[in-house]
Amino acid sequence: MKIDKQVDPDDSQAPVSPLVFRLDSHSGVPTYLQLVQQVEQALRLGYLRRGDQLPRVKDVVASLAINPNTVLKAYRELEHKGLAAGRPGQGTFVQAAPRAVDAEELAALRGSLVSGWLAEAAAAGLDDEAITALFQSALRDFRERRDTPGRPRGRGERRGRREAVA
């Protein structure tokens, strides 16, 4: 009776990374972006720290059954954001935590949202659902507009702009 079906005798080393990726195929978020977001999330929550290794491409591919290029694209994006760095022959490692927006700045942003846009939307007669829908749709537009210019054709270099991860 065998239950060790998952274990490949060839790579019997323990998983190298504290992170395990999951995929939500109904979220509409591209797969590589889901991987990027999960790393960012893990960094923010402290599951991943500087120096930790990200899951090896081979392991991600074997567990999620996705295209290796998707994983590489996600890791390139993380490198580009300065969050991870590749070490030849070893893998990709966490280099820095995302810049946390400081509390003051966050409070200011929140204030301008509440007394500004939200107040105007409510005055115009939008209820909570309408406000949420409008905000989400605007955010999607914003994201698309931000991501489209200089979008690589295929798997080329990413746009040359560093974004703070809020």
């Binding site: 065998k2 060790d4 079906k5 274990v7 490949d8 005798p9 060839d10 995929l23 195929s25 509409g28 797969t31 491409v57 081979k58 591919v61 074997a62 567990s63 999620l64 059954a65 996705i66 295209n67 290796p68 290029n69 998707t70 749709s137 999607r140 537009d141 698309e144 507009r145 489209t148 210019p149 979008r151 054709r153 295929g154």
Partner: protein, 313 residues
């Protein structure tokens, strides 16, 4: 290098054309999904590419300019046919031995290691394996030849969800480990989304759309707005599919670049499934990049007198 290149490829079965005027070049290094309704010509195209069928018209070459079916090509192309036919009365071990004897290049250790890691017993008769194990065995045999191009005809059709996942994971692991291009046919688009990065859509024996999936998605937009303005939008963008829901119209259009939608209209990205279904619904629209076939809504030339007829998926 192109892993598969065809020009004017056609294949006639008796009085029916299974494939007609197919011009296509698939670059190396991709995982290619070949999709289309049943009877669209997917198997015919794959069979022509691996040398199992002789084209009636046109040419097909693989891995650079190797003639499909030539010895050089056979050495470097591995093919798993629909339902992965194997000798069911042989044991797995005997099947491995047979494959080693029949192939000039066959990495027995590679296959055995793979089968062991999947807990497939080597002494079991092939006919007694589960559907998933059967498919995995066929795949292991194909990969043991260390091909440069792996061609799979409907590999997932008969597998349950877990077996599909494991099968795709096996293919993707091979891609991660070796420089390997994969072409596989399927009519289930949703399950290709995670793995494929290049798409070829066949419909009624013709290539309807081909290209890198990222680019195809970036070149299409879903516009929604007042129905009475739909006609005007149609003049601005090539419309692939139009749907009217009373006062609102939804148009799937080809639009390059980040240009915003006309005022009063909302634009959103399309999913792969929406895109493929829209094209399959209307076989007269096509999106074929490349110098030989510029994108455009032009109707295809008349098909030969008796065409294969189309069955909806």
């Amino acid at each position: 290098m192109n892993v598969i290149e065809t020009s004017g490829l056609g294949k006639r079965y008796h009085r029916t054309w299974g494939l007609w005027d197919c011009t296509l070049s698939i670059p190396a290094g991709h995982i290619v999904a070949l999709v289309g309704p049943n009877g669209a010509g997917k198997t015919t195209l794959l069979h022509c590419s691996v040398g199992l069928a002789t084209p009636t018209t046109g040419r097909v070459s693989v891995l650079g300019r190797l003639a499909a079916g030539s010895l050089d090509a056979l050495e470097r192309v591995a093919f798993v046919a629909q339902d992965a036919p194997l000798h069911s009365h042989l044991s797995v071990a005997a099947m491995l031995d047979l494959s080693r004897d029949l192939n000039r290049r066959f990495d027995l250790c590679h296959a055995e290691r793979r089968l062991r890691s999947l807990a497939i017993p080597l002494h079991r008769k092939v006919g007694k394996l589960s559907g998933g194990q059967h498919a995995q065995l066929a795949l292991a045999l194909a990969l043991a030849r260390h091909p440069d191009l792996l061609v799979l005809d409907e590999p997932l059709a008969r597998l349950d969800p877990l077996a599909r996942h494991d099968f795709l994971a096996h293919v993707m692991t091979a891609v991660a480990e070796e420089a390997l291009s994969v072409v596989f046919s399927s009519h289930v688009i949703s399950e290709l989304e995670r793995v494929a990065d290049y798409l070829v859509v066949l419909s009624a024996g013709r290539v309807q759309m081909a290209g890198a999936i990222d680019e195809l998605l970036a070149r299409h937009r879903l516009l929604s707005g007042p129905a009475e303005q739909a006609g005007r939008i149609g003049e601005l963008f090539p419309v692939v599919q139009a749907q009217n829901a009373g006062r609102r119209a939804e148009l799937l259009v080809r639009a390059a670049g980040p240009a915003g939608p006309p005022s009063g209209w909302q634009a959103s990205g399309v999913t792969l499934e929406e895109l493929v279904l829209a094209y399959l619904r209307d076989p007269s629209v096509s999106a074929l990049p490349g110098p030989s076939a510029l994108p455009g809504p032009a109707a295809p030339p008349a098909l030969p007198a008796s065409t294969h007829h189309e069955v909806t998926p």
